[in-house]
């Protein structure tokens, strides 16, 4: 069983948190130290749908917490697609990428929204948050240039988060960062602070018959697991659409747990551990922790 983790806390009232965090979960804005956690639970690689609060154990900084509420598929989703359009993506891979983006767009439910950020050495928000259907007609520039993956994901994650929604980022890249000014540690720090779940689809140079590892695979695995997301390593002839859809569906079907943090210091890093106490072999994934204010 993998330990996992929560989305960001809401400490608005006492701490006067500013927009980024305060906006994350205003559903609970009247509570002090109310924490929400997205938790993916799978058994035999399928989502588990019938869990209740009694089936979860959440530890905040090692202290067991009382879960106030569990919901599933109740809140709309804001998904940000952060897409590598460097020269290495040209050709069939580009067509596959476009199919993947269209597939995510097709999965959006009424109320969900999608945003698109592209990057080579230049990061561009080519589509602001729009309801379902917006990305379908998006005319992407042809792949060109080199790669600033870390800079791009950094500025993509630091956005105002609507408190009444869930937040997902799906990164697509070949993972070979040539130009970023920021580094891996900086991006992981950002990811810990913003409360978005990050999935990554990393494309390697190999084929299905002769697979090879993706560039920066270790880093991307660390990054995604820190946020409660996951990394999918694809070969260049794999179906990207399936990976995009899997990431989106995994997030959609995950649980949202809420608890009021007790018995822990308010400030600093809160390590989180989430378990399913029901008997069985479950793959549990959530954020590694959050920063209290």
């Amino acid at each position: 069983m993998r330990l996992a983790h929560p989305t960001a806390p809401v400490l608005a009232v006492v701490l006067g948190a500013t927009s980024l965090v305060a906006a994350q979960r205003p559903v609970f804005r009247s509570a002090i130290d109310s924490v929400t956690v997205d938790v993916s639970v799978r058994h035999d690689n399928r989502p588990v749908a019938d869990l209740t609060a009694a089936d979860f154990e959440v530890r905040d900084s090692g202290v067991v917490q009382t879960i106030d509420d569990v919901s599933r598929e109740a809140l709309p989703i804001d998904v940000t697609l952060v897409v590598d359009l460097s020269g290495s993506v040209e050709g069939p891979l580009f067509a596959s990428l476009q199919r993947g983006m269209a597939a995510v767009n097709a999965r959006l439910a009424p109320g969900d929204r999608a945003r698109v950020v592209t990057f080579n050495e230049h990061v561009r928000e080519v589509q602001r948050l729009e309801p379902a259907g917006g990305a379908r007609g998006l005319d992407l520039a042809q792949p060109n240039g080199t790669t600033s993956m870390i800079d791009a994901l950094t500025v993509s994650l630091i956005t105002p988060l609507d408190p009444d929604r869930r937040h997902l980022a799906i990164l697509f890249s070949d993972g070979r960062d040539m130009m970023s000014f920021l580094d891996e540690a900086s991006l992981v720090d950002v990811a810990k602070r913003v409360g978005q779940t990050v999935f990554a689809v990393a494309v390697a140079d190999g084929t299905r018959a002769h697979p090879s590892p993706a560039g920066a695979e270790t880093f991307l695995r660390t990054l995604t697991e820190t946020t409660g997301g996951a990394l999918a390593v694809m070969q260049r002839d794999d179906d990207l659409a399936a990976s995009f859809v899997r990431a989106f569906d995994d997030f959609r079907t995950s649980y949202v747990l809420r608890y009021t943090a007790t018995g822990v210091a308010r400030e600093g890093w809160h390590a989180l551990a989430v378990k399913v106490s029901r008997r069985g072999d479950y793959d549990v994934r959530a954020r590694a922790g959050y920063f209290g204010q």
């Binding site: 630091i158 000014f181 950002v190």
Partner: protein, 363 residues
């Protein structure tokens, strides 16, 4: 190699600077040359577009290069450079061979170094243009190869044999030798040679011993070029950048403190960015934010300082400013060129000026 999308923009500007209009009949190489020296500098870019265009003139072109040995003129060199540059921009496989042939013609000129200062100046400009072109369009290895081929015409650097013949007074080319050494350590350049099995990030300290040695060598070369006023500022900034990568932050800041306020705008911008990085590494977040804000003020359309400020402001708890700077970074216009990207391509940013000087050469 992976070419910066901004390199494509620069080429586009260079190759369309001349009057627009397609040639009616495919001109011969002599016709192209005559039009070129009469001032139609855009004739090459207009006439040599497709692989077939280059194939059509190739034989006559290289034949002409051979014939020019006894009839060398600056305009020949300027024209050949124009063809080679156009060829590199349009992926003509023989472009570098033509540039090499032009270099051999250039260094084979009859006037010895020191006898005709105007010819020395022309040769320096030609080499500067060639190195800038190769650094931006063909990578560090190509630029290194060119510089190696003209070593005996440049003042010696540490590690070179002592000079026994007259040398060109060319501080910019000496700086480029150091820059190219630095470029060989960049992920951007390494990936051009081969897929690096252990990719690393540009500003991260390289763990590989060979890479660290290459960076140490770059410091020696930069320090040797920092004495020339024309190149001192860039040498100091680039040395500081290498020192930050090696974790020698106080030495880096000492170099940055000596960068003059009159430095080239791109160099001042780089200095502010590298200072931000150095101060952040020292734990001086307020100082780093001030440095990044200075960089952002110097280049308001650049996204790099905005991204750095977004991450740093978030880390220091200033979420409103973090959101602001992230929005600034995401909203930079498509046409904006961040001079930080040009750091990776040596003197490529100066190519247009070099080319203009060559185009103004008279027979």
């Amino acid at each position: 190699m992976a070419r910066l999308s901004t390199a494509t923009l620069l080429f586009a500007a260079l190759l369309t600077a001349a009057p627009v209009g397609a040639a009616d009949d495919p001109p011969s190489i002599d016709q192209l040359y005559l039009a070129f020296i009469k001032g139609d500098t855009g004739i090459v870019a207009r006439s040599l577009v497709t692989p077939d265009d280059f194939a059509r003139v190739r034989a006559d072109l290289f034949k002409a290069v051979g014939l020019r040995q006894g009839d060398w003129r600056p305009t020949h060199e300027a024209f050949l450079f124009e063809v080679a540059m156009t060829g590199l921009a349009r992926h003509w496989p023989d472009a570098r061979m033509l540039l090499d042939a032009s270099r051999r013609l250039m260094v084979g000129r009859r006037d010895a170094i020191g006898t005709r200062p105007e010819m020395d100046r022309f040769e320096i400009t030609f080499h500067e243009a060639a190195v800038a072109l190769l650094a931006g369009a063909a990578g560090a290895g190509a630029a290194q190869g060119y510089l190696d081929a003209i070593t005996t015409r440049l003042p010696p650097l540490p590690g070179d044999a002592p000079a026994t013949t007259p040398r060109l007074d060319a501080p910019r080319l000496l700086l480029m030798r150091a820059v190219v050494q630095e470029m060989t350590t960049m992920p951007f350049a390494r990936a051009a040679v081969a897929r690096d099995p252990a990719p690393y990030l540009w500003m991260a300290a390289p763990r590989d011993r060979e890479l660290r040695q290459a960076l140490e060598r770059a410091i020696v070369l930069f320090d040797a070029t920092a004495a020339a006023p024309a190149t001192a500022d860039e040498a100091r900034v680039r040395t500081a950048c290498v020192l930050v990568r090696l974790g020698r932050v106080p030495e880096a800041i000492a170099r940055l403190d000596r960068v003059s306020i009159g430095a080239e705008p791109a160099v001042r911008y780089w200095a502010a960015l590298v200072r931000g990085r150095a101060l952040d590494a020292q734990g001086d977040s307020a100082g780093a934010i001030a440095a990044y804000e200075q960089a952002a003020a110097l280049q308001p359309q650049a996204q790099t300082p905005a991204a750095a400020l977004a991450a740093l402001c978030l880390r220091t708890g200033d979420r409103d400013r973090a959101l602001h700077w992230a929005e600034v970074a995401r909203a930079t216009p498509e046409s904006a060129i961040d001079p930080w990207w040009q750091y990776f391509t040596g003197d490529f940013r100066l190519l247009a000026g070099f080319v203009q000087d060559l185009r103004e050469a008279r027979p």
